[in-house]
């Protein structure tokens, strides 16, 4: 699909106290790969336009796709999408976009996902694409967030309890969950040195989050010995 097409907001679901997932119906949606994004274009009645990119946070459900949005303080677009954009209303979208920061289900090597805050969205899309397969490579998500109540996709992540091939570790930076043994703080080398996902196993690594977080984690991964071209990054800027 190329160019802008009109999508309709069919539902808005809660990810945290502030973040929402928007479920958009896009007639003729061709399907997408986990990690791809869409551009969203908003047009005000005076003709002013704003374009933003949002990662698709789930595999396509027919012609429905999902994006997950954290409202930025004083933001121009994200608070509108979270709080005001009415269900049943239309918005222009373009996509699916991107071919580098994607996970293809025919890959066989282990996958290490490192998420900072809302950077978890495309990585959970990858995790969900893996879970849709009957069998597949080992996945590990390291999810850095400030405190437990800011967690997105809680139901999907809690459903991993008891699995060893697809699992999630939390790295809380301000306030830990009850019973957590890891001291709070930013991601450290030991958080990313995980059995089954060491450089010797040649995993594919995907890192997504704010710029400083991505650079910090990508530096750790390369210092651990991962080849730079196997550490794929997406900075939010």
């Amino acid at each position: 699909m190329s160019g802008w097409t009109v999508a309709r907001l069919v539902a808005r679901t809660k990810e945290s106290d502030t973040a929402r997932t928007l479920h958009l119906q896009v007639p003729g949606w061709p399907g997408h790969l986990a990690g791809q994004h869409i551009d969203v274009r908003l047009t005000a009645d005076d003709g002013y336009q704003a374009v933003r990119s949002y990662s698709l946070s789930a595999p396509a459900d027919g012609d429905q796709v999902a994006i997950s949005v954290q409202p930025a303080p004083y933001g121009e677009v994200s608070p509108y999408l979270v709080e005001e954009f009415p269900e049943g209303a239309d918005i222009e979208v373009r996509g699916p976009l991107g071919g580098w920061f994607v996970w293809r289900p025919d890959r066989t090597e282990p996958v290490l996902l490192v998420a900072g805050g809302s950077g978890v969205a495309p990585l959970v899309a990858m995790l969900r694409a893996r879970l849709a397969l009957p069998d597949g490579p080992a996945f590990r998500l390291v999810y850095s967030l400030r405190r437990p109540q800011e967690r997105w996709f809680g139901d999907s992540l809690d459903a991993l309890d008891g699995r060893s091939d697809v699992a999630v570790d939390y790295a809380y930076t301000r306030e830990a969950a009850p019973g957590a043994t890891r001291p709070v703080g930013r991601v450290r080398q030991e958080d990313l040195l995980i059995d089954g996902f060491t450089p010797a196993q040649r995993p594919l690594c995907f890192v997504c989050g704010p710029t400083a977080f991505v650079e910090h984690c990508a530096d750790i991964l390369v210092a651990l010995g991962h080849r730079p071209d196997r550490v794929r990054t997406e900075r939010f800027g």
């Binding site: 551009d39 373009r94 991107g98 071919g99 580098w100 920061f101 071209d229 990054t233 939010f236």
Partner: protein
């Protein structure tokens, strides 16, 4: 810093190219680093963007969208290698 990855330019580039360009490779003429367009470092000002080599910072290309005009400057930014079929 408002630095992003080349991934972020997939939408604007889709207005120019018939193929998905962020998975194209670019050998940097400045330092010899081979990287995909998706792995370039992107600096933006409004609706304009500068894509640079992730290693040496040399400019790969510049792109801007102003109203109905799309600007694309490949300057001396090195060849793109785009896998095609057939």
């Amino acid at each position: 810093m408002p630095v992003q990855d080349g991934n972020a330019l997939a939408g604007p580039l889709s207005e120019v190219f018939a193929v998905e360009v962020t998975s194209a490779w670019r050998l940097c003429p400045g330092c010899g680093t081979d990287s995909t367009v998706g792995a370039l470092r992107v600096y933006t000002m409004g609706t304009a963007a500068v894509a640079r080599c992730p290693h040496c910072g040399e400019i790969a290309f510049r792109l801007a969208r102003h109203a109905e005009t799309l600007w694309l400057d490949f300057g001396g930014g090195g060849a793109l290698r785009i896998p095609v079929t057939g």
